[in-house]
Symmetry: C2
Subunit: 139 residues, 2 copies
């Protein structure tokens, strides 16, 4: 039941919120834009406005249910926050995304912030490259 998670986040149980949470949990792709989610809702016959999708995602973000990424480029993408921080390795050809965590990098980041007297709030590390399969296709 999604109701539980919403309640705990202090959000009323409404159709759009439940639906969006379901989509985020069940989608085969982990990183979705507001537009992606909106389209999925429309396709599954839901009557939800794009504005609501944005509002809900923003609320989810504040509630810690979701993480918003500002990928280089146009729109933001959202992914479920399962509490496990990770960074991203992105294939610039096929857009495949591999998530990873590297304790050494994490530690160094903390040290760097500390050395510069910053109270760290967040960080984003994206490594861009070409994945194995794209690499094999002569380009």
């Amino acid at each position: 039941m999604k109701n539980r998670e919403l309640k705990e986040a202090g959000l009323k149980t409404t159709a759009p919120r439940v639906k969006i949470l379901q989509i985020l949990e069940k989608a085969k792709v982990r990183h979705l834009s507001a537009e992606d989610i909106y389209k999925m809702l429309v396709e599954s016959g839901e009557d939800v406005g794009l504005a609501t999708v944005y509002r809900v995602l923003t609320q989810f973000e504040s509630a810690g249910l979701v993480i918003r990424h500002h990928f280089e480029g146009d729109s933001s993408v959202f992914e479920l926050d399962d509490g496990e921080h990770h960074d991203h390795l992105v294939c610039v050809k096929c857009e495949k995304i591999v998530e990873f965590v590297d304790p050494i990098i994490e530690k160094r980041q903390l040290s760097i912030a500390e050395e510069n007297h910053f109270r760290i709030t967040d960080h984003s590390l994206y490594i861009y490259g070409i994945c194995k399969s794209c690499n094999q296709l002569a380009s």
Copy 2:
């Protein structure tokens, strides 16, 4: 003379291009938005349109004179590309930016790409936080 750099980049020597290049080279702040640059131009009495600032910056980017960053906030910022790679520590309050290079992180990134069979092309690491002075202002 800026003419040389422009020529080498295959760009005609025009007043807006020369002026913008000068600003990027001389500004006390290394990372500037298009709007920042536009304001500086206007303040120094230049008759340049914002659209031109964007066009010129985009050309500079293609020419490798400048690097465009998409930080967390709204707009993009530009900095001179002096060929020295570095990452960024960004204050989310006052937007102060500290540049750094960490050899350990650099090395780990290579390993991670390799482990995942990615041929690395690029990467970006932004650490977001609150700097000392902003931290002291009770918020």
